[in-house]
């Protein structure tokens, strides 16, 4: 038998021992890889949401429910609608320090032809928009015509295809980039198309959760502040100067979400470290005990001419092979589960969740593989030290 194949033969022939060690290594890998991807996805989601809001201030109707509705829309994708008078836009123009203003109109479709769930429809003003079109996956230069729509990334339709809502076909002319938030499931269009939608729903006798005309009302206003002006001062000016509205800083609105996310990330990190410490101790103990049980095998190898160095190398090679195999299996299982079911995880979390891109994932794969294989090697090294210190003659006499 080729002596170089001995570590591999040992691993293959000792099935139960190998399976036990591989299971420990898979748990280690799953906790590290899965936990890291999960924390990264939450952070990506929050970063994406902060960028996606794209404005310094958001203006909403003053009632308490509107802010909750907007948060639910952003975090859970729960469609919502609330309205304030459109004349507010004229009042905003009188406030000093405001650079850009863009209103939006929220509409919730009842069960549409496409989906058995409600769809959030957001009407926006193309001339003033600075929060939606910059997020188009492919640039769309011209203005939206009647019955043309832009869709969020989670709607499985393509640019050029048609989406049927209330029996009327709407042409998809753009698709937004993925944000990991509720905005991914929304449909974006102009005020005129929103009016067509309301009419189509009425013609079909379908109840639509708002009949207010987009010419008269708006749901929210996105505001950017001129450079050199303090955002908090502008927020105060709006809240004091305009009745029936509530201005909030975009960042402030997401503070509670960021805090929740920090707590979750912290708890998961503790869990990863705890699993790692315990699994590492179990792994080292397992290798150590196995070495004890294999004393006679090592003594025989020494008798047939194996040097102490060669014996140490044999154990180390075995542990490295096991570490590499365990980490690869663990990465494949965890990666498949986390990436295949990422939409499900997102919907159950009620938090923005955006899985890392291919390059970041590759980095995590590499770090996990090296760490787990290294831990396997360290465990093997400790066992190897024990194996080489054994008195061959004494063992064979026992």
């Amino acid at each position: 038998m080729n002596i170089r194949k001995l570590p591999l033969k040992n691993i293959i022939l000792q099935k139960k021992r190998t399976a036990g060690l591989i299971i420990i290594l898979i748990v280690l890998t799953a906790s590290m890889f899965g936990g890291s991807i999960f924390i990264r996805s939450l952070n990506n989601g929050l970063d994406s949401l902060n960028q996606r809001l794209g404005s310094d201030i958001i203006l909403l109707p003053k009632d308490a429910e509107s802010e909750v509705d907007l948060k639910n829309l952003l975090l859970q994708g729960t469609p919502g609608y609330f309205y304030m008078d459109k004349s507010i836009l004229n009042e905003l123009e009188n406030i000093e320090g405001i650079d850009k203003i863009s209103p939006q109109y929220f509409l919730v479709s009842a069960n549409a032809d496409c989906c058995s769930v409600k769809v959030q429809i957001i009407g926006f003003d193309e001339k003033t928009d600075f929060t939606i079109k910059p997020w188009l996956h492919e640039s769309y230069d011209r203005e939206l015509s009647d019955n043309e729509i832009i869709v969020g990334s989670s709607l499985s339709t393509r640019v050029g295809h048609k989406l049927k809502l209330y029996g009327v076909e709407f042409l998809v002319v753009g698709k937004l980039e993925k944000t990991g938030t509720g905005l991914d499931t929304a449909v974006y269009t102009t005020g005129d198309t929103v009016k067509n939608l309301i009419k189509a729903a009425e013609d079909k006798g379908i109840s639509i959760l708002s009949k207010q005309n987009p010419d008269d009302v708006i749901s929210s206003v996105y505001i950017n502040v001129k450079k050199g002006y303090d955002i908090d001062n502008i927020v105060s000016d709006i809240n004091l100067g305009i009745d029936g509205v509530k201005a909030v800083r975009s960042k402030t609105m997401m503070t509670s979400t960021a805090d929740r996310l920090k707590t979750i990330s912290f708890l998961i990190s503790i869990l990863i470290v705890t699993i790692w410490v315990f699994a590492a101790l179990i792994l080292i103990a397992a290798f150590y005990m196995i070495t004890g049980e294999r004393k006679r095998e090592f003594a025989v190898l020494r008798v047939i001419g194996y040097s102490k160095k060669a014996l140490g190398r044999l154990i180390l090679t075995e542990s490295v092979i096991l570490g590499a195999a365990g980490s690869v299996i663990g990465i494949v299982i965890t990666g498949t589960a986390m990436y295949s079911f990422n939409i499900l995880i997102n919907s159950k979390l009620d938090l923005p969740y955006l899985v890392p891109n291919a390059i970041s994932t590759a980095v995590y794969v590499l770090i996990t593989f090296i760490s787990v294989t290294f831990l396997g090697a360290v465990s093997g090294m400790i066992s190897a030290l024990r194996a080489v210190s054994v008195d061959t003659g004494k063992i064979l006499r026992e």
Binding site: C114, S116, V119, S154, S156, S340
Partner: protein, 146 residues
Amino acid sequence: MKYLRSNVFKIAELVLALVLTIGSFTVFAACPVGEEHVMACHYAQLAVTTLGLILTIQALAALLIGNKKVRLGITISQVPALVAVFFVPGTIFSLCMMSSMRCISIFKPAVRIVDAVFFVAVVADIVVNVVKNGEVKADEHKEAAA
């Protein structure tokens, strides 16, 4: 024990076929059928259940039949069905529009994962069988030559 060991792939295939068939209308079923509206994904679910049922019958037959060549033939015939199952949700049959819906978030990934594991088991079974048959034939040739 010896029976289990020699039929480990066949048993795994039968279990996976049952998981695919039963799971497709229970644990990882597509979107529920409404009173007024039948979603497109419902037909994808029906197709997966039907193909799953065929795969279950094939796996059961391969387990019960004694002739090795027939068993291998049945296992090979499972490959096209498995390829078809993989492409049923989302490619052959369209699913719902919104990715947050059950058919895209649960049905499609679950079907594809079970199908991929099943495919690996079937390919491994075929390879092991072909290698074993090759070894047996080589031994027979050696004996004949001797």
